[in-house]
Symmetry: C2
Subunit: 225 residues, 2 copies
Amino acid sequence: MSLPPPSPHRVQIEHLVRRAIYQRLGQTPPQSAQAPNPLLVNISARHCHLTPQAVEALFGKGATLTPMKWLYQKDQFAAKEMVTLIGPRSRVISNLRILGPCRDLNQVELALTDAIALGFDIPVRPSGNIKGTPGCMLMGPNGFFEMPDGVIRAAPHVHMHPDDAAFYGVKQGDYMRMRVGGPCAVTFDRMLVRVSPDFKLEVHIDTDEGNACVFGPDTPVELLK
Amino acid sequence: MSLPPPSPHRVQIEHLVRRAIYQRLGQTPPQSAQAPNPLLVNISARHCHLTPQAVEALFGKGATLTPMKWLYQKDQFAAKEMVTLIGPRSRVISNLRILGPCRDLNQVELALTDAIALGFDIPVRPSGNIKGTPGCMLMGPNGFFEMPDGVIRAAPHVHMHPDDAAFYGVKQGDYMRMRVGGPCAVTFDRMLVRVSPDFKLEVHIDTDEGNACVFGPDTPVELLK
């Protein structure tokens, strides 16, 4: 793992500066600056999570994932390694990114537009809840790996620390709303709440959702109970 | 034009039956049944509108569009004819459907996912407002046709008759909200209102928007001022 550790994200620095300024001015900060942590929204492009066994089948005996880019959540990374996804009509998606580290189950997360293009009929599921979902074939440089299930569209969700959950007044498994501004303003009315002491406040929506509201770095966004 | 004329849409028949039942029972119908017309939501897949000159350039001298399927709006149809769209990085979309009848301007409407895949940086525009938008090359069986501009992402919009506008209390150019239920419930906060005596009440969203909220025939939907 030669990749240097991640530096603080822009939203974290901005959040600290904003709070410091309000404090210095002796003013009450707005709601968003009172939050214990800044709100980061990331668009998840299609990707997969794999077991160590799947990585070995696809990339060779002893192969492991190589971090290419650290993600916002602790220890999570986009790997250098990618696979080819083969759908039910033999249509393929090349260069499907693997996210690491390895997990104890294999899961492919597609946007519905991807799924329709490939011919998958996939359900909306929270990550890890793959029972009864379609399977697929993956192809790597060392061979094929068949997934009997695990192809899902991830439910739009927000990762949060218990401090964030307390601030917003929500708990694990609740749903929140996220209001996105701009020229194609959209309110996502069912954002699944996932709480863990290991999590940082971060919303994950997929490319369909991000493109539907033309989400960009300057798009105004608000998380609502 | 050998295609038989369109029969009433399912939502129109349901609307009439619903109103008749409430009347027979002597009960006050709910808000949606009081509306002068039923609400139909259609997902617009990528498509184009062409001038007669463009059709001749692409399909040959004297060529015209052949209706394949009538659309909900009066006299509008999906044509049998399709073109190939060539994007800025020479990536292509084959089988881009032409909608008829011909118009007095050429316009390609893509979802943002399509645009990104092809390398277009397109703005969100109301139909017909194409000044300063990217152009593209179209290819047909008879040759190429270059559009200097006209590639847009159509703003999500609702067509309505003046009767509908009166009922909802909106006018041409206003924005409304559309609340979509289901497992990926979404509220579209900026639905452009387009009013004409020729229009029937119909919402058009694109495939990104439709896929973001997993829109299907049984998805509950509500139009709000």
